[in-house]
């Protein structure tokens, strides 16, 4: 941290903080205190994570509370993680998984938004499609996987289709909800200012729906990750899910856990990115009276 930044935090801290002249006399304790005050959420999270890992490590190396075969200590998972990165096994499997996921997410999201906008905007399409959408949404789509594998073989294609099925429904449903909930007073205003039906749809309903689409995208992206994982457990010879399954079959639980850790990190990153994006849209912020 630079000194400038130190001074800034101080002046923002208010009258209770010591005067600016004494900056140089600040010890590490004061600095730590200030850090706690400025970012308590992040600090607490890190502290809790460290404590969790320490307790886990202690319980599994000293006490051996659970047989380490079922629950390896964090140190063993870390070693497995490094080992698998060193021999390139992780990279190869992650690349396979992420490639499928990327293609599935891109197709699922664009098709979902398109279907949602059309279904929400055209009454007759809505009446016809809604029951199918809900039926497919509420069915565990894993049921389709054996059929897809029979039809398409052990290729990435059935996996991509599975990911699309995972991604698409939350996006469709949320997009339809956005179009249907469009603010009546905005439509009224647009009509007064001469908007025709197409303009009402394109200039009011569609932009109004953007925050709903973002919500659908967030739900769809995480659901897609689940479907990616599942599609690799069954009828696959590659990918993160396949790797975890193979490791457990060989009783290499640290490797299996390492795979799960990677999956967790991936989901967190994806959710974080999708949570940050909407902050740049003006109308996801408070916009009414």
């Amino acid at each position: 941290m630079t000194r400038d930044a130190d001074v800034d935090t101080r002046s923002a801290a208010g009258p209770l903080s010591p005067p600016v002249q004494r900056v140089s006399k600040d010890g590490p304790r004061q600095r730590f205190g200030r850090l706690l005050r400025s970012a308590p959420g992040v600090v607490l999270l890190v502290v809790s994570l460290v404590v969790l890992i320490a307790v886990w490590q202690y319980a599994q190396t000293r006490i051996r509370a659970v047989p380490p075969l079922y629950l390896p200590p964090p140190s063993a998972i870390w070693h497995a993680l490094l080992e698998n990165f060193r021999n390139g096994q992780f990279q190869q499997n992650i690349a396979f998984s992420l490639q499928n996921y990327g293609v599935g997410l891109a197709i699922g999201a664009s098709a979902g938004v398109a279907i949602g906008l059309v279904t929400g905007g055209i009454r007759k399409v809505n009446i016809i499609l809604t029951p199918y959408i809900w039926a497919l949404y509420s069915t565990p789509n894993i049921a389709f996987q054996p059929i897809l594998i029979v039809a398409l073989g052990f290729t990435p294609l059935p996996k991509i289709i599975m990911i699309i099925l995972g991604v698409i429904f939350p996006i469709i449903v949320n997009t339809i909800a956005g179009v249907e909930k469009v603010d009546g007073s905005l439509l009224r205003a647009a009509r007064v200012f001469g908007a025709n039906r197409l303009q009402l749809y394109l200039k009011v309903a569609v932009p109004y729906t953007v925050p709903f689409i973002m919500t659908g995208l967030r739900l769809g992206a995480t659901r897609g990750l689940l479907y990616m994982y599942i599609s690799e457990i069954y009828g696959s010879t590659n990918g993160l899910g396949y790797m975890v399954l193979q490791a457990t079959h060989r009783f290499q639980t640290p490797t299996a856990f390492a795979g799960v850790v990677l999956l967790v990190v991936m989901s967190i990153l994806i959710v974080q990115v999708l949570q940050i994006v909407p902050r740049f849209l003006p109308h996801t912020r408070e916009a009414k009276i």
Binding site: D183, R188, G194, V210, P282
Partner: protein, 282 residues
């Protein structure tokens, strides 16, 4: 007289002083209440004419059909019986000659101030430097220079309504329909906005139909006040406001004539409201 952009007002006195701009003749409007399967008579046998250049304020209790009348003039609802004429032709739908300012502002939250003001021009396919200048000059006219790139959520209620006013003025309508435009802003902002509206209308020479609950607002702004009864809405009385302008100065509000008019309008409304209380309408 010229408008804010400096062009002569195209429609200025285009209509003879004798020909009304808006003409409602025995207008009745019924709404279907689908959920309750009943019909609501919002306006009944409503006759009113508004000459070009007039500032008409409509006052009445809640649910008296004030907004319905504006919607009929705007072309958003069709008469159940009777007629509304604008410039001698029956109203068949919305048009650029009638612009509206809404109580809840109705600004597009994803558009900046500039793009909100531009909305009406955009719908009409009017683009180009001339229209850009118009957008800018109306933003300046309503006192929002420097906020062109702001979003509605970054503005106060009063500022949002300035955007609403600029959006309505920029299409150069022949009449401004204002539906309780200052009802959602605080009392102080409201008085300032009233003063500015009076100034802007004087500068642009627009015809205005303005709906409000507030008698003081009506007396500050109106050439004529139309008092409406409630459920069904009917015209009760029209009052000529013969007070000197500008009216937001203290001596006008303190004048005996102001008090006299105020008491008269209040008397009409009080009668109306107490009748409703007795019949349990509101």
């Amino acid at each position: 007289m010229t408008d804010a952009v400096g062009r002569p007002l195209e429609h200025e006195r285009a209509v003879d002083a004798g020909t009304p701009l808006i003409e409602a003749d025995r207008l009745s409007i019924e709404y279907e209440k689908t959920r309750e399967r009943t019909r609501l008579l919002a306006l009944y046998d409503f006759t009113l004419t508004v000459p070009a250049g007039e500032f008409l304020v409509i006052v009445g209790p809640s649910g008296c059909g004030k907004t319905t009348f504006l919607s009929a003039v705007a072309g958003l609802v069709a008469p159940t019986s009777g007629s509304v004429h604008f410039e001698g032709a029956p109203v068949r739908g919305p048009g650029p000659d009638r612009a509206m300012v809404f109580q809840d502002y109705a600004l597009m939250p994803w558009r900046t101030v500039e793009k909100n003001v531009r909305f009406g021009l955009e719908m009409a396919g009017r683009r180009g430097p001339r229209h850009n200048d118009a957008v800018q000059s109306y933003i300046e006219l309503v006192g929002l220079a420097g906020f062109e790139k702001s979003y509605p959520h970054e503005l106060s209620g009063g500022m949002r309504q300035r955007v609403g006013l600029a959006r309505a003025l920029v299409v150069d309508p022949k009449v401004l329909l204002m539906d309780e435009p200052f009802a959602a802003v605080d009392a102080m902002t409201r008085e300032i906005m009233q003063g500015e509206l009076a100034r802007i209308i004087q500068e642009t020479g627009k015809t205005v139909v303005f709906v409000t609950h507030s008698i003081d607002e009506a007396l500050t702004l109106a050439d004529r006040i139309a008092v409406i009864t409630s459920r069904p809405g009917r015209l009760q009385e029209i009052i000529q406001v013969d007070l000197p302008r500008p009216r937001y100065e203290k001596d006008v509000k303190a004048s005996p004539r102001y008090q006299e008019l105020r008491e008269h309008v209040w008397g009409l409304l009080q009668q109306e409201v107490s009748q409703n209380l007795r019949s349990g309408v509101e």
